[in-house]
Symmetry: C2
Subunit: 355 residues, 2 copies
């Protein structure tokens, strides 16, 4: 019998409400598709933990979750009390780095029942992936401050693009494009302005493209690319981008499909040397935390991606189908989508649709 | 009698078509509002010039245009033959740096007759400025490549934020916000991911805000900020951003208001120690160049901004009004806005509306 060991980390804010609901749907899927889940809860990687221990995670965090098959993550952050660069760099960004989750995979799909802010777009019109580099690039900790506190003060920070890091994310993206119907890849660049690292990125894209003669590819500078997301979102299939550009595009894309509240993501180590981490794109949302009203769909869709990653492809697809069923039904939607459901009733509806 | 000395630089592609039309409207404004223009044409800062001379500009470019009151610029670039980082860094970006045009001011305004890709937005709903830092930040030339051609190859590039450079752009933005009705400033950050330079940016925003108790301000990470541009564009008044973030937001903003073809920009040295440069946001658009079909409105609106900068406030406003009149009239619009006009007839209509 298949058993998957999952480290369950709710984190902060609405993560504490959405993760249990994601687990509810995972358990329903396990029952229906005949696999087993070993679910281990962890309270670290949260500002709660930080408040109690003065650090985001225990020293042995790697031993405690490094042997699991995947991490099911909620959200982290108390932006008003713990600086983001403390909470995030001490948890989520550490996971991405230390577990070499170098692919951040984020689907952008216009779903039934979710009104797009873009005029005249229907479900089916928007359906692409953002493939984001997740370990290097603009998110480096190299740099510092000079002449602090004086008029001459300045800070520098280095972006770092390695051939190793660039080629492997491009390979993942081209492989994905090759498997899809449209076989189309778009690279996000800014080689006209960021004139050292981005021409290098372009160079590696061009080199990689040679191995994929059947994949049609193009590139856009990030500024005009964001414009195209709004004006021509139907043009995209697989969009590959650096850490920062991918971060931007994977909030903008879901916004164009209506709401980031339902958007999922996978932080993936494709070689499976380390556990991959699955989390909604939204954050801890302190403003609505504790009220039971958060939309659980981003968390549940992340569960579906996790199951696909673990080889439970059929179960993953069935969850996505159940999500579509629920979103199509006005009375099953949460308040952010103008429905009467709350976190629990919406998630239960997905579990029911699945069963 | 007031005389303004303008260096006119069409550059490449559609710049050669839109700049003469911008000049047409400038001359109409001069006639109507009783000032004089000395217009001096320059063929450098173009890939045409590069093809003939092997460089983008003559050695004495600074002497030749440094004494003018402003530069009226078209667009530069032959992306298929001259690498962007050669053409742009040898012209436009050099102007911005060497003439210390540290403010890039870009209005985002939904105009009558221009359909927004956003559902349900009307003229008046979207009306804000992006204030972009224009000389430092992520656009630095510091960095390089190590272990070239091997598997260990990597590139690094430094972002540089000085207190001098950061404070002066923030001051410009807060001053602008203070003068506007809503008195609202939004700062673009990414201090949760870009964890050295962006926390510094936040720190300087907080310090500067103390001098503007009457300006309401907030900050958003760039990823969610792009989502808000699409979902809540009515929320913004003055958005201040670093070089890269401002670049992105000032393409995305105009895209949300319908088209970047009509968007103008000013590259401004507020102290008037050097000439400021006014140019449309769009590029040289080689695909439609030479056909006479380019929309001249971005260029003409840039002329309006230039006149305001030169103290011809009334003339600048009158041009903007004439633009609104023309855009409201379906038969005066260019093909990109589904009208029958071409570059020349559209610009003539603006000049007529002005007279
Ligand atoms: C052409 C390019 C270098 C330039 C920039 O990035 O600044 C352009 O996109 C702009 O916004 O003026
Ligand atoms: C919270 C933040 C550090 C993170 C990022 O920038 O990577 C988030 O925006 C994301 O997209 O996962």
């Amino acid at each position: 019998n298949r058993v998957h060991r999952i480290a369950v980390i709710p984190g902060d804010g609405i993560g504490k409400e959405t993760v249990p609901e994601g687990v509810r749907v995972l358990e329903a899927a396990a029952k229906k598709f005949g696999f087993k889940l070993q679910l281990d809860d962890f309270d670290f990687a949260s500002c709660d933990y930080y408040a109690r221990h003065g650090r985001m995670m225990p020293e042995d965090w790697k031993e405690r979750i490094g042997q699991h098959d995947a991490i099911f993550f909620g959200a982290v952050g108390w932006p008003d009390t713990v600086p983001d660069h403390v909470s995030l760099w001490g948890s989520l960004i550490l996971f991405r780095r230390e577990f070499d989750q170098y692919v951040n995979l984020r689907p952008c799909k216009l779903m039934p029942g979710v009104p797009s802010p873009l005029a005249g777009r229907q479900p089916g019109d928007i359906d692409f992936y953002v493939v984001r580099e997740n370990t290097e690039g603009e998110y480096s900790a190299l740099g510092g401050r000079m002449f602090p506190g004086t008029d001459r003060e300045f800070v520098v920070q280095e972006s770092v693009f390695t051939r190793h890091g660039t080629d492997r994310i491009l390979k993942f993206a081209f492989d994905l494009a090759q498997k899809r119907e449209k076989k189309h890849l778009t690279s996000a660049t800014k080689s006209n302005g960021i004139a050292i690292t981005m021409p290098y990125w372009d160079e590696r894209v061009e080199a990689m493209a040679k191995s994929y003669p059947d994949v049609r590819w193009d590139k856009y500078h990030i500024d005009i690319l964001t414009a195209h997301f709004v004006q021509n979102p139907d043009r995209f299939d697989v969009v590959v981008a650096s850490n920062l550009f991918g971060d931007i595009l994977s909030d903008l894309g879901p916004a164009c499909t209506g709401t980031i509240a339902i958007a999922p993501s996978g932080n993936i180590n494709p070689e499976r040397k380390f556990p991959s981490l699955f989390e909604p794109v939204h954050g801890s949302a302190p403003d609505i935390a504790g009220k039971g009203i958060a939309n659980p769909i981003g968390q549940i869709w992340s569960a579906a991606m996790m199951l696909e990653h673990l080889g439970e492809v059929e179960a993953g697809r069935a969850i996505l189908q159940a999500i579509e069923t629920v979103l199509s039904e006005p009375k099953l939607r949460t308040g952010d989508l103008k429905g009467p459901a709350n976190t629990v009733t919406c998630a239960k509806a997905v579990a029911d649709a699945l069963a």
